[in-house]
């Protein structure tokens, strides 16, 4: 596949030296590194509006003529940040990098043809006969086109006659899309392998964990099969075929964009005489606010062409579904990149335009987790409320994990007579090796808590916690009491500075604790 497509002389760009234009239509090899977007409150990727970005590195083979030439790069992501573009591999380097955003459009054509001649074609409605005549555009495209014809001055589309404009040539300055080009020089014609690296908006990724609870002992200890998908999304219109694809965890700093050029062009708004007809009030454009971003396509109506979710390397599950975690054949490989974590998909994959892709990134069956029910007295009152079931593990090798766990969404499954069923959905922040991993599964109808005031003195407030367990197995509970307490209790220990009641409540039983809050009175 040759990157070089056409050579033609661009005239009138500069009067000094004719530059040869080399058009590079598409890359031969591409690698794509996806960085995460900011996701508040653990929301999932919005595949239509991904908030992350990507670093794209492409190789293109170009034939560069002798002298000065302009290389136009086509087929780049439209979310490109042009200031981040790096071009290497040219024999004499890059003289200039330019990104042009004067777009070919009805408005752009009229603008480029101001004070120039166009052809007007009028069609008679009665006979279908057409008549062509020359005219000169005498007004800039600010709401109208005023034409100078051999008869005098007229306004386009104010006659009620079918009429259209034709332009002799494409203006050289206008392009179909914002285009990156570089100016370079060469002493002799050469074939060069050029690398283009740039950052582009409109990508995102996150981990999607599947925590399959294998067993749950009466002591709260158990085993969980942890699996994670690397889910990446490309919200742009550019596909990356056979791309060497990577994802980065960690948070590289990003600054606000500097000044960007505003693309010119658009549709031609035509306004006519004051009121075209007395009984027809024209559409008054008046003040025109900035157009809203295009509405996201309804997710429910994915057409067949846009394969929106691609699951790579998933084997069919057997009849008896033992685990919700799939069997992964391809697993992304992790390496360190400075203070970031890089995940590399080992085979080239195709990241489709408007598509989401998943590849396994973490397979850790049999990790040790404990179950407990957790609550903070702040959120409870006299009426009993359910406590939250938590899974707690440690990200170490001896506990069956021991690898970086990037932020993402977590689905928790437990086995049932009907196979593994979803018991909770939550999110997980970045967890480095050695850190505790806590997964909030969901609230329990059976394990509930009430907090009732007992007595109040000038400097003391007595409360009672009651935890009821309607399960027929014992449960471990942890209740945070984020206050300054009076006296010491063996049942209450400080965890990360917060007094916490840790105990085990027997099956079909309840447990109570009284505590005194120190009140400060001035």
């Amino acid at each position: 596949m040759r990157g070089l497509v056409a050579l033609f002389l661009a005239l009138a760009t500069t009067p000094l030296a004719a530059q040869t234009v080399v058009v590079s239509e598409e890359p031969e090899a591409v690698s794509l590194t996806v960085y995460r977007g900011e996701k508040y409150g653990g929301q999932a990727i919005d595949p239509n509006w991904p908030t992350g970005y990507a670093l794209v590195t492409e190789t293109r083979t170009l034939t560069i003529p002798a002298g000065e030439s302009v290389i136009r790069f086509e087929g780049v992501a439209e979310g490109m940040f042009p200031e981040s573009a790096i071009v290497t591999g040219l024999p004499k380097g890059v003289k200039e990098k330019n990104r042009d955003a004067r777009l070919l459009s009805p408005l752009g054509l009229v603008d480029a043809y101001l004070k120039r001649q166009v052809t007007i074609t009028r069609t008679e409605r009665a006979t279908g006969k057409t008549r062509e005549f020359p005219a000169m555009i005498t007004s800039a495209p600010g709401g109208a086109v005023i034409l100078q014809t051999n008869d005098g001055y007229e306004a386009l589309h104010c006659t009620g006659l079918p009429e259209r404009m034709a332009f002799a040539q494409l203006p050289a300055k206008l392009s179909a899309k914002p285009t990156l080009s570089v100016i370079t020089q060469s002493d002799k014609p050469v074939t060069a392998k050029v690398t283009l690296t740039y950052m582009a908006a409109g990508f995102d990724w996150e981990a999607n964990y599947i925590a399959q609870v294998q067993n749950r002992g009466s002591d709260g200890k158990g085993k969980v099969d942890l699996f994670a998908w690397l889910t990446l999304a490309n919200g742009g219109n550019q596909s990356f075929t056979n791309a060497n694809t990577m994802a980065i965890a960690g948070k590289p700093n990003r600054e606000n964009n500097g000044p960007q050029v505003k693309p010119t062009g658009g549709s031609l708004e035509l306004k006519c005489w004051p009121n075209q007809r007395t009984h027809e009030v024209p559409y008054n454009l008046g003040y025109f606010p900035a157009p809203p971003p295009p509405p996201p396509a309804p997710a429910a109506y994915m057409d067949e062409e846009s394969d929106s979710i691609v699951v790579t390397a998933q084997r069919m599950r057997g009849e008896s579904l033992a685990s919700y975690s799939p069997v992964a054949v391809v697993v992304a490989e992790q390496e360190n990149l400075g203070d970031l974590k890089l995940y590399r998909i080992p085979e080239p994959v195709t990241v489709n335009a408007k598509g989401q892709k998943q590849v396994a990134m973490l397979v850790k069956p049999g990790a040790a987790f404990t179950h407990h029910y957790s609550a903070s007295v702040e959120n409870y009152g006299a009426q009993s409320e359910p406590m939250t079931l938590m899974l707690r593990g440690k990200n170490t090798t001896d506990k069956g994990l021991g690898l970086p766990m990037p932020q993402g969404q977590v689905m928790v499954f437990e086995n049932s007579e009907y196979g593994p069923l979803l018991t909770g959905e939550t999110t997980l922040n970045d967890r480095a090796v050695g850190e505790d991993v806590e997964i909030a599964v969901g609230t329990s109808v059976d394990v509930r808590m009430t907090v009732t005031p007992q007595s109040e003195k000038a400097n003391n407030q007595r409360w009672e916690i009651k935890v009821t367990n309607a399960r027929n197995t014992p449960v471990n509970i942890e209740v945070e009491i984020p206050y300054e307490l009076r006296g010491k209790s063996k049942a209450v220990t400080k965890i990360s500075g917060v007094p916490t009641w840790k105990t085990t409540v027997a099956g079909n039983d309840s447990a109570t604790l009284s505590y005194d809050i120190k009140l400060e009175r001035d």
């Binding site: 661009a10 005239l11 600010g142 051999n150 005098g152 600054e255 970031l340 001035d522």
Partner: protein
């Protein structure tokens, strides 16, 4: 320069006016000086053929966003009578309004037969609808909804295709070299730095690019471009807030005192572009200005706790430190811009690891930029105990747990803010540095795959 159509009986325009490419610009020799606050100075030197005496000269192809009040036209033997900037633009509604009281031609087309009839009509009023007098009858234009062409004999003299600058000059006549200067918004520049960090060698390669953007609506063809690093008319304000612990920007740790032979304009640095270039409208252009290989750099970590509070483990910032000094540094001033840092992955491909905005930096400065948050280096802050000593004194015992999941030892600059100047540190597990009234810093070594703990007791008054 005016393109006139040949008007007349049966005249057919044979060839397009400019068949190839685009119309040549009326600009002369253009020099553009671009500042970093959105203002630019344009100097346009044209040879003008002036008639003797007073004449009105129009200047097409000046910036479409020109600040008309800043225009100056100079040249030998030229006196300025007046300057005008006209922006009454030609639209169909304007054309009709200005035709009130005049006679226009109506060309009606029979919808059934296509036969055209031509009548002359006088425009009586254009208020909402157009009222015409045709012979003896008064009619409203297109009241029947049928096609009718309205043909005007002329365009009123003050209506223009684009806003137009004109200067009325008094001259002895003849070919005169003139210079038109004006200010325009819409041109700007910033710098973009491509930094490749080598962790093993602890060096950086830095390439600096100036990035110009043109949103003026006008192309500047083959222009002599000069960039000024600095913001005229924006000084004079003292910094209101201390920015030393703002988490996301690059900072000058120690301002440099070196200088080089770069051209200056007052206190600003000048960056002339080596060659003339065309700055097209809606274009972003980059030209290289700095290329340094293997300057020493080192990476370190930094964590800031804003208040004496318990927080979940959070990542420390990855910080890259380097110098802009002639010896052992980049050896140049850095105009304000964005520094993007890359690092090679295991296969040797450069990957992006973060970026940081830097302010204009003198030569010889010690710099530190925060490239991002470290995945493996985290700090957990815990309030161990908070006790009241008396009605306005509190004692807070803090514990800072620093974890390092990396395979190498690291040093974290741990900072505690919110000390207000009157908080005393009565006890600390290692000696800290009170860098300001509000802040104390500890330099904490953390072993590979290990932990370090700092404890401190703060005695605060309210």
């Amino acid at each position: 320069m005016r393109h006139l159509l040949l008007l007349g009986m049966g005249c057919i325009i044979a060839a397009p006016l400019s068949a190839q490419g685009d119309v040549a610009s009326a600009q002369g020799d253009v020099a553009v000086t671009i500042y970093q606050n959105g203002q630019s100075l344009v100097q346009d030197s044209r040879q003008m053929n002036l008639p003797s005496g007073r004449s009105k000269q129009e200047f097409p192809d000046v910036s479409a966003s020109i600040r008309a009040e800043t225009v100056t036209l100079t040249g030998p033997g030229i006196g300025i009578v007046e300057q005008n900037f006209d922006y009454d633009l030609l639209t169909p509604a304007k054309l009709m309004e200005k035709a009130v009281g005049q006679t226009v031609t109506l060309l009606r087309t029979n919808v059934a037969t296509g036969v055209e009839t031509r009548v002359r009509a006088k425009v009586l009023a254009a208020n909402g609808g157009v009222v015409l007098q045709i012979g003896d009858s008064i009619e409203v234009l297109r009241d029947d909804g049928l096609p009718v062409r309205v043909i005007f004999d002329r365009v009123p003299p003050n209506l223009r295709a684009r806003p137009t600058l004109s200067v009325t000059v008094e001259s002895k006549g003849g070919l005169t070299p003139t210079t038109l200067t004006y200010l325009t918004p819409g041109l700007g520049w910033t710098s973009d730095y491509v930094t490749l960090f080598d962790d093993a060698k602890q060096t950086i390669d830095v390439q600096g690019w100036v990035t110009l953007t043109n949103n003026t609506g006008t192309d500047y063809t083959n222009a002599d471009v000069l960039l000024v690093a600095g913001n005229p008319n924006q000084g004079g304000n003292r910094r209101m807030y201390q920015t030393s612990y703002s988490p996301s920007t690059g900072t000058i740790d120690e301002a440099g005192t070196e200088s080089n032979n770069r051209e200056r304009l007052g206190d600003y640095y000048l960056y002339p572009l080596g060659e003339r270039t065309t700055i097209a409208n809606a274009q972003q252009k980059q030209v290289s200005f700095l290329d340094v290989k293997s300057a020493p750099a080192r990476n370190t970590y930094e964590f800031n706790n804003g208040w004496l509070a318990t927080n979940e483990a959070a990542s420390a910032s990855s910080v890259l430190k380097f110098s802009t000094s002639r010896s052992g540094g980049l050896g140049d001033q850095l105009p304000a811009g964005t520094m993007r840092v890359y690092m090679r992955d295991k296969r040797g491909d450069p990957q992006f690891i973060g970026e940081s905005r830097i302010e204009a930096t003198p030569m010889g400065s010690a710099m530190s930029i925060r490239t991002g948050e470290a995945f493996d280096v985290k700090v957990k802050t815990v309030v161990e105990e908070r006790t009241r000593i008396n009605s306005n004194r509190w004692k807070t015992r803090m514990r800072y747990e620093i974890t390092n999941a990396r395979g190498n030892a690291v040093t974290v600059d741990l900072g505690q803010n919110g000390l207000w100047g009157d908080v005393r540190i009565s006890e600390q597990s290692q000696e800290g540095k009170r860098v300001s009234a509000d802040r104390i810093e500890w330099s904490v070594p953390v072993p590979a795959n290990g932990k370090a703990t700092v404890t401190a007791t703060f005695d605060s008054r309210y």
